[in-house]
């Protein structure tokens, strides 16, 4: 569903992504794991069409910059950028109108219930806590029922209750057949659901681990630290 082929991204002289390739299948969760500055957010922004890059990215077979690809893709950034003067429900309404969705109201209500935000529907973006903003941002990302969802550090700054809700939502999306790409620098946060983990370092994918194909006696954490601390 998400196909990234030989992506390179430069910021002036800094090579933030260096010839990166990955593929995320429908119903699979791929994790981008890496320390701060590894190039995870840059790669995600390239996939979402927010940055220019060299290489090819397709979503469901469509070039990622086309409206067809955008219709299939949902994205929640690391810093939830809500509109301060719109209510939570108006955020959903805006997305529904902008994406030309039909009969979206029932699903919007479902999302608000699932994320425990029904009582916050009339709250303005500026009145929400960081955790609430993050959840509203994810609701906006999944409202168009995208076939691929990208979440950049979705659990940062959330309380345990919020973390559990988002983890449940991730499991639900995966079960619905969504291709999921999630970036994190917290291994424990994705330990239960991941199918593939791409460990990034210095703009490159240093290792690809697949569940069930892990080396005998090695955990994801062992591999991550061996890479992050320079042994690989």
């Amino acid at each position: 569903m998400i196909s990234v082929d030989c992506i390179s991204k430069k910021y002036n002289k800094l090579l933030a992504n260096d010839d990166v390739s990955l593929y995320v299948k429908s119903g699979e969760l791929t994790v981008l794991l890496g320390p701060n500055g590894a190039g995870k957010s840059t790669l995600i922004k390239c996939i979402c069409g927010l940055l220019r890059f060299k290489g090819t990215i397709t979503i469901g077979g469509f070039d990622n910059l086309t409206p067809d690809a955008k219709r299939l893709l949902g994205y929640a950034p690391e810093i939830p950028a809500l509109y301060p003067m719109l209510t939570v429900y108006e955020h959903l309404e805006f997305i529904a109108k902008a994406y030309r969705l039909k009969d979206w109201e029932t699903y919007a209500e479902e999302l608000l219930v699932r994320f425990d935000m029904s009582d916050k529907r009339a709250k303005l973006g500026k009145e929400l806590s960081k955790g609430m903003q993050q959840k509203a941002s994810i609701c906006c990302a999944v409202l168009p029922r995208p076939k691929a969802v990208i979440l950049d550090e979705p659990l940062v700054g959330l309380d345990p209750h919020g973390i559990r809700e988002i983890k449940t939502a991730i499991t639900g999306l995966k079960q619905d057949g969504c291709a999921l790409l999630i970036s994190t620098h917290n291994i424990e946060s994705v330990e239960e659901d991941w199918d593939t983990t791409c460990i990034m370092k210095s703009g490159k994918i240093a290792a690809v681990c697949r569940r069930g194909e892990m080396p005998e006696g090695k955990t994801l954490e062992d591999i991550y630290f061996s890479i992050a601390e320079g042994a690989v």
Partner: protein, 526 residues
């Protein structure tokens, strides 16, 4: 104290190093210095132009109005809500917990505040030419600069004490607000009485400046009276009035020091609020900037539109919710009021128009459509890039139209300008926004936003001059050739027509801009 001097010294040194290391900053500061020198030279080449002392009243009135705005912001808004912004977050985290005496830290804070105050009024130094037109030389410019800076330092300390005295107490906050209005009451009543008697705005203002009622407004009245006394050559009165400010500021600082006042808490909320806003902006949430504080009453809800047009209807909802006047803001009303007043006295719409086009540069840059570029939604909506750009900037265009109609409609009727000139001015100012928007996207499209902001700004202004020239030059030539009001009207409509063409060409050249640039991030200076 050595630790505090170390911070001051190092901060200054590092700032200088940064200027030297970054060529764009060096160019920027060199240009600023050049403009300043040019200003001084240009002002000295102009002849002394005192027609009457009445001209000085305008200057004094301007100083009075400027400080009044600051009194309102510092005392009523900041003082009764979040306290003085005397310290930064790094001071809170590192100095407040250190074993340095709070009095010394306060002294350091006042020094910091003085630096910021000078920056808030630095624009006065560049006003040598307009001052000269009021018959005031560069000495008067410097005097005004120091007078304004001093008053802002005093107001920052007042704000600190007001916050301390009213924190968590609604009644006291109300008292402060009532006192604020009461301060202006004698001066306002006197001015109104004089106006009814003389029916002359300027003469009444002059009477007010010379009257003792101006002294009922601390800081603003004292500074205005002090500066104008100096300009009139009355040194004793000048020293006395400006001395009142120094006495008030010094007395309040002494009070804070002597009373062992715990000012840490009083400055904390403001430092944290400012820090949080800057952090949110630097992390990509530009929408946190300039958000209206306090409770917002929600009456109408919902977002209309379909596809890209949803962006426009969202902006309308946000604008009307943020501000009851919708397309007009308090800021735009102040500008409109000033512009109408200037055209009333100058009996000329073109001077106002040529000034307002520069304001437009900043207004368009701060529009919701431009801010939208800093968040991901506009990039990810599955619509064509052109449609998204068009709809997301529709609101700022309508805003420009409403403001232009207000300014030139009212001014034109007051001074009896012809309908053609009024419509021409409205068209030129409104369509200039289209050129600015086109230029902005053209710059983005061809630089990819992957260059320094200084170079981007230079590219923007150079391209703007190049694109405007083919319309402005023939408009001037034809306008002058025909002459009179008809020539003026034709000239204005030629510029407006060119703006429409240039704006559309620029937008067409920027096709696909959202796919050909990096989503920009905002890096605040502090």
């Amino acid at each position: 104290m050595s630790a505090l001097w170390y911070i001051i010294r190092k901060t200054f040194k590092n700032h200088l190093k940064e200027i030297i290391r970054k060529p764009v900053m060096l160019i920027f500061y060199s240009l600023i210095t050049l403009v300043l020198v040019f200003n001084i030279i240009a002002s000295t080449s102009l002849g002394q132009d005192i027609k009457s002392f009445l001209q000085l009243y305008w200057l004094t009135g301007g100083i009075f109005a400027y400080i009044t705005v600051f009194i309102f912001l510092f005392v009523v808004v900041t003082g009764t809500s979040k306290g003085s912004s005397i310290f930064g977050m790094s001071d809170v985290n590192l100095l407040f917990v250190s074993p340095i005496s709070p009095r010394k830290i306060l002294f350091y804070g006042v020094l910091r505040m003085m630096r910021d105050s000078f920056l808030a009024v630095v624009f006065v130094l560049f006003m040598a030419v307009p001052f000269k037109r009021f018959g005031v030389g560069y000495g008067g410019v410097l005097l005004t600069f120091f007078g304004l800076a001093l008053s802002i330092v005093v107001l920052s300390v007042v704000s600190l004490i007001v916050y301390s005295a009213t924190n968590g107490n609604k009644k006291r906050k109300l008292v402060v607000k009532l006192l604020f209005f009461a301060m202006f009451l004698p001066a306002a009543v006197y001015y109104a009485l004089r106006f009814f008697e003389t029916e002359d705005i300027i003469l009444s203002l002059g009477d007010l400046i010379l009257s003792p009622f101006i002294l009922s407004v601390p800081v603003a009245g004292w500074t205005a009276a002090g500066v104008s006394a100096f300009l009139f050559g009355d040194i004793v009165s000048g020293l006395m009035f400006l001395g009142l400010n120094i006495l008030l500021g010094g007395g309040l600082i002494l009070y804070v020091i002597r009373s062992n006042h715990d000012y840490y808490e009083d400055t904390l909320v403001s430092a944290e609020t400012t820090y949080e806003k800057l952090r949110a902006v630097s992390e990509g949430n530009i929408n946190s900037l300039g958000v209206r504080e306090g409770k917002v009453k929600i009456t109408k809800t919902g977002v209309s539109g379909f596809g890209a047009s949803a962006l426009f209807y969202k902006h309308i909802r946000e604008s009307f919710r943020e501000n009851r006047l919708g397309f007009l803001t308090v800021y735009s009303l102040i500008i409109a009021g000033g512009a109408i007043a200037v055209s009333y006295f100058s009996k000329d719409l073109i001077t106002v128009l040529s000034t307002l086009v520069w304001f437009q540069v900043f207004k368009v840059g701060m529009g919701r459509g431009q801010r939208e570029l800093f968040t991901h939604y506009v990039y990810m909506i599955p619509e064509s890039s052109f449609r998204k750009i068009l709809w997301s900037n529709m609101e700022i265009m309508l805003k420009a139209l409403v403001e232009s109609v207000l300014i030139f409609g009212v001014s034109g009727i007051i001074i009896g300008a012809g309908i053609g000139v009024m419509l021409g001015c409205i068209a030129v100012l409104t369509l200039f926004s289209l050129v600015l928007l086109g230029m902005s996207f053209f710059s983005m499209r061809f630089t990819g936003m992957n260059i320094g902001k200084g170079i981007l700004l230079m590219f923007y202004f150079m391209a703007l001059i190049v694109f405007m020239a083919p319309g402005v030059v023939p408009a001037f030539i034809i306008g002058f050739y025909i002459g009179g009001v008809t020539g003026l009207c034709i000239g204005l409509f030629i510029i407006a027509a060119w703006e429409l063409i240039a704006g559309l060409i620029l937008l067409a050249l920027s096709k696909g801009v959202l796919h050909r640039c990096d989503m920009p991030t905002m890096k605040p200076l502090k």
